[in-house]
């Protein structure tokens, strides 16, 4: 039972506390390049999910047989294989979106988050934890992609998943779907994340302080 709880924690940590985008600032290229609409962001998130979970599974299953000296190259080849699978599947299933994402599907290989998880986690833990960790991390990545994609699509086009939101009078902020909008939105989201974490830390400090005072008061009275 206890192991189940830790496996669950491995998954949860990627979603918020160690979020690959907001906290570790990894995987920026696909993050910014494809998030000009919510649907692109979701497809990219799913593709990354498949690649990360698949390669974490393989790497942690074969970790005894991977020689230390060539491990990075092997990881990259495993990742590249999964990316090729995703690339061809998307081409077959969703040709329109595949065309829009274009070169950025193959570029999942160069997403440092994926290689980072293999090196830092999957190569050291057993299959169950590695897969849970991969699910959590790619979930966190997906949340970030989705947040960025939604903000940019709502402000830049005035629509959400292609559904018009504001009617004809809305003047879209075209800059948001262009490259500068990606940088600015991610910068502001990071700022918000920092602010939120800071507020939470201050709040917890205050609670701890209040508890300390309360305990000290009890000691004095008793």
């Amino acid at each position: 039972m206890a192991t189940d709880i830790t496996a669950y924690e491995e998954m949860i940590k990627g979603l918020w506390r160690d979020n690959p985008v907001f906290v570790q600032v990894l995987g920026m290229c696909p993050m910014l390049a494809v998030t000009n609409s919510a649907i692109n962001a979701v497809v990219m998130g799913l593709a990354t999910f498949f690649v990360l979970v698949g390669s974490s599974f393989l790497v942690s299953s074969f970790k005894q047989w991977i020689p230390k000296q060539v491990r990075i190259s092997l990881y990259i080849i495993i990742i590249a294989t999964f990316v090729t699978v995703v690339d061809y599947s998307l081409l077959a299933m969703l040709p329109a979106i595949h065309k829009e994402l274009g070169a950025f599907i193959p570029l999942i290989v160069a997403n440092c988050m994926i290689l980072g998880r293999q090196e830092a986690f999957a190569s050291k833990h057993n299959v169950k934890y590695a897969v849970m960790d991969a699910v959590g991390m790619s979930g966190g990545f997906m949340i970030a992609l989705f947040a960025l994609g939604s903000v940019r699509e709502i402000l830049g086009v005035g629509a959400f998943f292609g559904v018009d939101l504001f009617g004809a009078n809305f003047e879209p902020w075209v800059i948001m779907i262009l490259p500068p909008g990606g940088f600015l939105t991610l910068g502001l989201l990071l700022l918000f994340f920092n602010w939120f974490t800071e507020r939470r830390r201050q709040f917890l400090d205050k609670v701890a302080e209040a508890e300390r005072v309360a305990v000290a008061g009890v000691d004095k009275n008793g």
Binding site: C29, L32, I77, T81, L107, V109, A110, P180, L184, G187
Partner: protein, 192 residues
């Protein structure tokens, strides 16, 4: 000749790899603290990009016509090992050059700009000369963006920026403004 010039200028300014395609963001945000280092990193990256273009052309012309599905894997393996090999030869032949490029070379191989260049060049069907020009333009554009960013960051180092925004958020907002400035070049060619 006009075509080559067009490829070079458009990759350098209009379709800048960093500011318009978001390629090579890790070093752009991570290593751009100092002007001197950024410039050298830019040069080293240009060097690797040119080699990549060469490798990609060889692979595309002689190998991948028989097995297109191996494109991604072979690009990564061949480029990484070629760069490693060149790194070793430079170390042997010219220690001073190795000292100035050396530490960056292995890092650059995992930079997405490298793989991005190979894929873009393939998708657009560039030949050898066009590919090399494309690589030079991309490298020059990367260096330009790095140097601009490092200059701005060195200046803002002494400014009074709120502690909360310092770090990546601040760099991203600077990058956004830089990218906006680069969009001004979009009118340079009527066909873009």
């Amino acid at each position: 000749m006009d075509d080559l010039l067009w490829i070079f200028i458009s990759t350098l300014l209009v379709n800048n790899f960093v500011l318009a395609y978001f390629l090579g963001l890790c070093p752009f945000l991570g290593v751009s603290g100092q002007l001197e280092t950024s410039f050298r990193l830019g040069l080293a990256t240009t060097f690797v990009l040119v080699i990549t273009a060469l490798c990609a052309w060889v692979l595309n012309t002689y190998v991948l016509i028989y097995a297109p599905y191996l494109r991604l894997i072979s690009f990564i393996v061949v480029i990484a090992s070629t760069v490693q090999f060149i790194e070793m030869s430079i170390k042997k032949l010219s220690p001073s050059l190795f000292k100035s490029l050396g530490i960056f070379l292995p890092l650059i191989t995992t930079n997405c700009a490298i793989l991005g260049l190979a894929i873009f060049a393939t998708n657009r069907g560039y030949g050898l000369v066009e590919g090399l020009t494309f690589a030079l333009g991309a490298g020059a554009g990367f260096t330009l963006a790095m140097v601009l960013m490092a200059g701005i960051r060195e200046e803002t180092e002494i400014n009074d920026v709120p502690a909360l925004i310092r770090g990546t958020a601040f760099n991203l907002i600077i990058a956004g403004i830089l990218s906006m400035a680069f969009m001004g070049f979009a009118g340079l060619f009527s066909s873009t």
